[in-house]
Symmetry: C2
Subunit: 179 residues, 2 copies
Amino acid sequence: MFNYFYLFSNKLSLPSIIKNMSFTVRNAVEEDMQSVLDLITELAVFEKEPDAVNITVNDLINDGFSENPKFKLFVAEQENNIIGIALFYERYSTWKGRSIHLEDLIVTKTKQKIGAGKALYSAVLKYAYDNNYNRVAWEVIDWNTNAIDFYKSTGATYLNDWSVVQMNKENLAKFVENN
Amino acid sequence: MFNYFYLFSNKLSLPSIIKNMSFTVRNAVEEDMQSVLDLITELAVFEKEPDAVNITVNDLINDGFSENPKFKLFVAEQENNIIGIALFYERYSTWKGRSIHLEDLIVTKTKQKIGAGKALYSAVLKYAYDNNYNRVAWEVIDWNTNAIDFYKSTGATYLNDWSVVQMNKENLAKFVENN
């Protein structure tokens, strides 16, 4: 499906202390999905919504590795441990056309100073560039100012006036059954 | 690909004056794409970004009606005129799984009081419900309070603290070429 592989510890000019903690960024495989779910859950706890994760390992396997995968996924690996993920997929802008949505960029708390987040982020942007997408978009929560500052420093635009609206499955059913 | 068709003027209990202006909601076909682009452009002007629309009629045809369509599209039609559109596609939530993103919901200015917006919105929600999606999401600009109030009245949640971040094609190229 996609065969992108990147050894970031060579690509980036990292200080020697970081080189000793080198990691690789690679495509996810089915066997990674338990570790991926652990990271998704860790982020939900950080975002104060620990009970919001309804997805299972089997869902991730079925949805990501079937004939028509619903997402693409890069993982950052260090000494056989998955320390970070970037999950993304196609969207379609009526202004710009084919675009990429970065759904989740997660690095486990104890490994957040070794460049894995930037490496995963860069990998997604490089994927979008190499595949001629016209935009990359994502969402950020307003109190995560470190993330916002980082995104801006890379050339992204923070659209503070555009916010997210969601209808959950329960309210979707209510609406459809009553309309 | 999808064969959803809905005659809303029967489904909704509209006052008789509105019944006389009845419209239908149907799947878009290739021949609608010029009218669709006109509505996309009309919305961009309303949002004060008239030059932001880079997409062409051919892009819409190629991207929406090829073997692997990038979006689904309902149109509201009245007396052979396309008066509104709802363009949407799949996304993937790492909390909820398969979801629908409503990219654009547009009704032309002169036809905004006859229920076409709600009919298109309802059609997308019904599509999501019928196809067992776990969430429907979209984005709204904060000064469009009429839209926000409407969305809330239907059971949607306005996540004021979650905002959009985008990297355009030019800055994407700059970032990738320098990293």
